[in-house]
Assembly symmetry: C2
Homo-oligomer: 377 residues x 2
């Protein structure tokens, strides 16, 4: 793309520079720089003159030049699959706010569930636009671990990749999923379906939460029935609806559903409703993520709050730590505390009543040395 050329000197006077300010104020360029950057040792009189010149000329610091000189941009990247998934939209919202408080600007990359784009986030052109990266991979996995051995500050989110040489913010997936499942069982449900499983996967939210589901069944003394496992690659409303619908249309006997994320729970609710099944009367429903939607759906949907607010905060904090401190403390894995929140879809609250916390799980911080990786806290 070629931009237009401007030839009117008067109109297109590119920009006021420090040089212009310096001349006007009768000082050196560096003094202007010092004023702009809040260097303390400046005579008040000088400062005033410079400030006046700045205001007069409408001078604005050229960020690009500063970035070049200082080798920093004060920007960080947040790479997520898709903003149209509410969980990631909320995450992005939070990360932007937290980063802002630290004086950082956030650049968002959408990887759209494409492996190539995820690789590009780690290695591509845009990488160097920012000082660091908060990365929530979806396609990359443990097999790509070496890709994560990068030379810039990196914080990994999610459960696709463990033990990368980077800080990691993750969730209590197995335990929380187990708690959610046990909760459904405690309501007397016996045929608990799971939606969003990924056959054959060993890591990743799907695998871990499915594992928690199985543990939950075991704990409740319920048998595991493969017919109750609904596969869904992408975790959208649409796939949740389709998977749920397929299962119901296949005549599978179901009295509860654990959707591995809330978007699918919303889709499943839709599919149940389309088949005139009552929630929670006929089928109890619980999701995962605790996005804002589930507080307003009809009925409201119970969910696992994995500590989303914490995740954003911690991710930024860890990245800032890497940005400011040498990489000397090894790496940490942080797991926020999570909760199972009961709402109408599990009959935990009366219609129209607010939510109720039905289970709580501690979080923790684990120091990762390159060798053994025992869970602490």
């Amino acid at each position: 793309m070629a931009y237009a050329v401007c030839d009117d000197e008067e109109v297109c006077r590119v920009a006021v520079t420090m040089h212009d300010v310096a001349v006007q104020a009768g000082v050196s360029i560096k003094t202007v720089s010092n004023v702009v950057n809040g260097y303390p040792h400046i005579r008040p009189e000088t400062r005033r003159r410079v400030q006046e010149a700045i205001d007069d000329l409408g001078y604005r610091l050229n960020t690009t030049a500063r970035n070049l000189r200082t080798r920093r941009t004060d920007m960080i990247t947040l790479a997520v699959p898709e903003l149209s998934l509410p969980y990631f939209a909320e995450l992005a919202d939070r990360v932007i706010r937290v980063a802002e408080e630290q004086g950082l600007t956030v650049l968002i990359e959408q990887t759209g569930g494409s492996r190539d784009r995820e690789v590009e986030v780690l290695t591509g052109k845009r990488r160097q636009l920012t000082d660091g990266l908060i990365f929530s991979p979806l396609e990359l996995s443990q097999a790509d671990l070496d890709l994560f051995d990068v030379d810039f500050p990196l914080v990994v989110l999610g459960e696709r990749v463990f033990d990368a040489p980077a800080h990691h913010v993750t969730m209590n997936n197995v335990a929380a999923a187990r708690a959610a499942t046990v909760h459904l069982a405690s309501l007397g449900r016996r045929r608990i379906a799971v939606i969003g499983a990924h056959e054959g996967e060993e890591l990743g939210s799907a695998a871990l939460r499915t594992e928690g589901y199985k543990q939950g069944l075991a704990e409740a003394g319920l048998p595991f029935d493969p017919a109750l496992v609904g596969e869904a690659g992408l975790w959208h409303r649409s796939t949740g609806s389709e998977t749920m619908g397929r299962m119901l249309d296949d005549g599978v006997d179901v009295d509860a559903v654990f959707a591995l994320n809330d978007a699918m729970a919303l889709g499943a609710l839709h599919a149940l409703h389309a088949r005139s099944l009552d929630v929670p009367g006929d089928v109890a429903l619980i999701g995962f993520d605790d996005i804002d939607d589930v507080r307003y759906s009809v009925p409201t949907i119970s969910s696992v709050d994995p500590g989303s607010a914490q995740i954003a905060k911690v991710a930024v904090d860890l990245l800032v730590e890497r940005l400011t401190a040498p990489a000397d403390h090894g790496y940490r894995r942080v797991v926020p505390a999570s909760r199972v929140v009961g709402r109408e879809s599990t009959g935990d609250v009366a219609e129209g009543a607010p939510e109720r916390v039905v289970a709580e799980l501690d979080g923790g911080v684990e120091q990762i040395s390159s060798a053994a990786l025992g869970r602490t806290a």
Copy 2:
């Protein structure tokens, strides 16, 4: 924020520069630059040597340096109120995708409904990080028109500010709201409430859509009843729920609701459900924006699709036009075609059936000269 200093020459070798590549390849820096930038007149042999050196050294072009030199960043800003509002999350998603196709990177600014932050978007430090701005203001209004007289490429979205010296992408607000209201009336509804009005406002989505609502009532021969107008400042699920709830608790007789956006429609649905009112049995409901949510809610919610996909595409295209061409074509106001989409919440489709378009409205393009501003097309 001060970053860590690195003193290990070996490890922290800052970066390979064109100079290093040039030396290795035995050519001048400029030739390396030419190769990198695809300049055609280079001997194949030279190109090969340079490319080899690039690969050998793992050279990466320094974007910041290039930006400084070329005075461009190939980035654009998208400023929206909040990403956690699904409409804006979807908009951001689309804008990012479209921009990408044009080789542009998008920086998202959240203004969070704060006037100061909106002013900052137009004038603040970050402004110059990008080549242009797509701005969806919420607080700034016609009174701030002079703020929009800026010297960078700008595309304005929404209905807060008209006639700014910039391209404008907006919606068929009045006509679409009118159509939505008329549609509710055509279903036999007589007590049609509106949710999300802004008392005293003359421009803005709220005012325009409320105006359309009134016109719709008039067209249907229904009286306007102030008791049926629900105020709601921010258009969130929560405010929609509260406003709807208040109206019902006040005993207002309602048999249909026009929520001025879908988030509030979802909230209203929640409030109706909490009071055991059936949708559409007792109350018909229609929203505005046609976000993905309303296709999966229970029941599915009818809505006005203002041409969201188009909006993103057109906004980017118009900005690119300003980026590449001199500002010589005056300004245009583009209004995508919009539709009223009927779903379960208005009884337009049977339970479980997909959607049905119940009204269509043409869009159009209007050339804005600085003088008169008559609507064309």
